[in-house]
Amino acid sequence: MKEYFFNISEKVINTLSNDEHLTISINGENSEFIRINNAKVRQIGTVADASMGMELIKNNRKVQISFTIQRDMEKDYKIIIDYLDTMRKNIVSLPEDPLCVLPENHGSLDEEYTGHLLNPKESVDALLPVMSGVDLIGIWASGDVFVGNTNSAGQKNWFSTETFSLDYSLINPLKKMVKETYAGTHWDQNDYESFINSSKEKLSMLNEKSRKIKPGSYRTYIASAGVSDLIDMFSWGGVSENSIRKGRSSFIKMRDEGKSLSPCFSLKEDFSSGTVPRFNSNGEISDIELPLIIDGALKNTLISTRTANEYNLSTNFASQGEYLRSPVMKEGLVEEQDILKELNTGVYLSNLHYLNWSDQLGGRVTGMTRYACFWVEDGEIISPIDDMRFDDTIYNFFGDKLESVTSKSRLNPSVGTYGGRNLGGVHCPGIILKSFELTL
């Protein structure tokens, strides 16, 4: 696709007049999906999807269009030229955009990661047999994903990767569940089978009858998967400079009221793992690292070039939505084998579910506990617990109430597929809290 994209783009860019600025992008995938219920196939299929986008700027006016491509050079070129003409007609009637970002040549990136994936002709027989004997529900996704952009200033970026993931849950007759993701770039049948078998062993730990706990404050351990959900909230009215300026961010208290998080909490954007493209949809390339919160203090926010234009700031080439693309939270000192001992008596939460700001400006988040969650006494797991609702603020769980952080960070891969297969994930350790508010 890379050659196709750069060839067709070059032809289109050659048709521009001097006062027309154009950015062209592409994203797409070739994927196999298998949906599994009760260790059997519910739905199976393949998706070959690719779309191109164009942003035209002329006389300080901007218009955008994106469209599915047929991957046929002749047909697609004709459609692109038609769309470009429509954009030219519409753009003259639009108001001027004083904040629009003209395309520049920031230097180009070209990253192609090849994997070793299961052939779709073999996937069902490779995946299903080891699942037998247990109620397993999940989604298999496998194939390549590509992103590129180029512009009339001469910049050319490309990123493609081949990945697979089996995101799944195991459930026992007491309706207790274990959640796992087996993801990677190189398929290894033996490794996969032993991964599934170890999940089955984890499920056997949930055979105790679960206990109900009352709403209240509890000493709490939240494992990496749960912490990653809490960090995801920062991408939604958190770390975005624009959302802070426009009064829609949980970080306003840090900016305006001198609040800080715990000295144990540090977070950065870190692209060194190469799991996501380092360029944004404008083609701008971020630094490998950008510290956001260091030892609890807000150091940087995510600033897109548009926001920089609006508020006279320096851009750090954030995405247009100023969300986290490759977040990494710093590890602490608590070793994995000491987690229960450090928690002593309280609740152990493996996963959280359905988070939302209950008071965004106050930094308060509500959500549910889910999957393998336990009551712990004197450093020992006593029994699973029924799911509880929590409602607490980032200034508590990443602030005053954060007692310690575990020493092992995990990648929680983004397995979401809204609009297309997501890439990357959140690298973070687990956290031990002096107290956490469970409300219902």
Binding site: A50, L94, M368, T417, T439
Partner: protein, 473 residues
């Protein structure tokens, strides 16, 4: 392209196969703080081929619209189905894709080409001015969303369906600051099937005036009180309440466990249909794809099943779920036409469409005057519920305190939490037709691979007794 003709040319060894061509043009115009933020159109166009082989469906989604491309996709789908058929969850027959012919068109007053992009921008720019009518307002935004969807469906059993759906959404929002108190008021980000009559200037101006005056009320308002009290919900909060605590738990594919790795399971079990007292006897809930301006109206679902209005809950008793023909085969619960996909690149599953609470007989005044102490809430802003759809917590943008049968003052940051069945059983008054509003949202997420889909929810104002209400951080 003529799908019926393509069907006749496809060479395939299968029990059934079908083609669903999906083309959708979506345009967003956004002006924020008087700067144009977006004038963006996206055009999504492709075909899904579905094949039934050995009782298993397989699909292949392609944007290659040539006959040879569609033939290749059909062969790929057939091979996938065949390989999976020895591990099928359920062995289907072709009766889950009935033979249907027909069409559906959104009725609209002003067609989409009746206003140019420039004219829509002019209105949104004026809306920014109308919203910015107080120095304490720090940011405003006006949005117009225009969606035109064409779905053509044909299959080997002779089905031939054409549907064209027009949806218009809008929002006008303002954020204001008073010391450390910051509040945002929106117009609810709702949408309907309709034409550009939604952008009538007087109508837009009225909406902007309401938003800008209420955001100023909010920054001067008290925090919502905490305690157990009466709760009155406006239709634009009921939308979310119906969606999360009725719609999702009644989806039969959830009850059958398909969603347990993602959105979750359901507290509702198959044996509850016909028996469970879901809510008080004032509660009547319908699946209704026939309300002409509601967001998810249509003639046929994506399995070719003709859509009709059905009662899911009658006088508080659960009768029927949200399951289409595949789910009917698996569960033996009678089907509704809710087999829907978000696009050509996703396979259909059980979804909500229009799910409505039928009007009762109380006027707004009857409801308010019956409340000794409570809170009235408008416009959803926060939502979270557990994976069985029991324990929920929702918040609204705008609250009003009710004391001794009268609305007394504005409240900010109103929230409430409850458990689904006891909550609906505390429903003690249902508003009449004069309080009934039709809302819709384009943002319901579900399924693996994930799909975001449009749903409509219409409701009157409702009163609930003894609910846990509370304020902000």
């Amino acid at each position: 392209m003529n799908l019926v003709e393509i069907i006749s040319k496809i060479d395939l060894d299968a029990e059934w196969f079908g083609l669903r061509e999906y083309k959708e043009n979506t345009t967003y115009h956004v002006i924020r703080d008087k700067n144009p933020l977006s004038n963006e159109t996206s055009i999504d166009h492709g075909i899904m081929v579905e094949v039934l082989k050995n009782g298993q469906f397989g699909y292949c989604a392609t944007s290659d619209l040539s006959l040879s491309g569609i033939q290749r996709a059909a062969t790929t789908a057939q091979e996938s189905a065949l390989r999976a058929s020895k591990y099928s969850v359920f062995s289907f027959e072709s009766n889950v894709r009935p033979k249907s012919k027909g069409e559906y068109l959104t009725p609209l007053e002003l067609p989409f080409d009746s206003l140019s992009a420039g004219e829509i921008n002019d209105i949104l720019m004026k809306a920014n001015d109308w919203l910015l009518n107080d120095s304490r307002i720090m940011s405003v935004s006006a949005m117009a969303m225009l969606v035109e969807t064409t779905i053509n469906y044909a299959c080997s059993n002779g089905s031939d369906i054409h549907q064209k759906i027009n949806i218009v959404g809008s929002d006008y929002s303002a954020t204001a600051k008073n010391g450390q108190i910051i509040q945002t008021r929106t117009d609810g980000r709702s949408g309907n099937q309709m034409g550009l009559e939604r952008f009538n200037q007087d109508l837009v101006r009225e909406k902007c005036n309401k938003v800008s005056s209420q955001v100023i009320e909010l920054i001067e308002a008290e925090q919502c009180p905490t305690g157990e009290m009466s709760l009155v919900l406006a239709p634009d909060q009921m939308m979310l309440q119906i969606h999360e605590s009725i719609g999702h738990p009644l989806e039969i594919d959830r009850i059958l466990g398909d969603e347990r790795n993602y959105a979750g399971w359901s507290f509702v079990q198959l044996e509850d249909f016909g028996k469970l007292q879901y809510g008080s006897d004032l509660m009547n809930v319908t699946f209704d794809p026939t309300i002409s301006n509601e967001m998810a109206s249509y003639g046929f679902d994506d399995g070719g099943f003709k859509a009709s209005k059905e009662h899911l809950i009658k006088d508080g008793v659960l009768l029927r779920g949200l399951g289409a023909l595949e789910s009917q085969e698996r569960s033996e619960v009678p089907a509704v036409a809710n087999f829907r996909s978000c696009s050509w690149n996703r396979a259909p599953i059980d979804r909500m469409a229009n799910l409505n609470l039928e009007a009762g007989d109380s006027s707004f005044e009857d409801i308010i005057s019956s409340v000794e102490y409570g809170v009235y809430m408008e416009t959803n802003r926060s939502w979270s519920i557990d994976d069985y759809r029991n324990k929920f917590q929702f918040g609204s943008e705008y609250g009003k305190l009710i004391e001794n049968g009268k609305i007394t003052k504005t409240l900010r940051d109103p929230n409430y939490r409850a458990i689904t069945v006891p909550f609906w059983n505390s429903l003690s008054k249902v508003g009449d037709e004069s309080t009934f509003e039709v809302h819709g949202t384009p943002n319901c997420g579900k399924g693996e691979p994930n799909q975001v889909i449009r749903v409509g929810h219409a409701s009157p104002i409702c009163l609930f007794d003894n609910i846990q209400v509370f304020g902000g951080a």
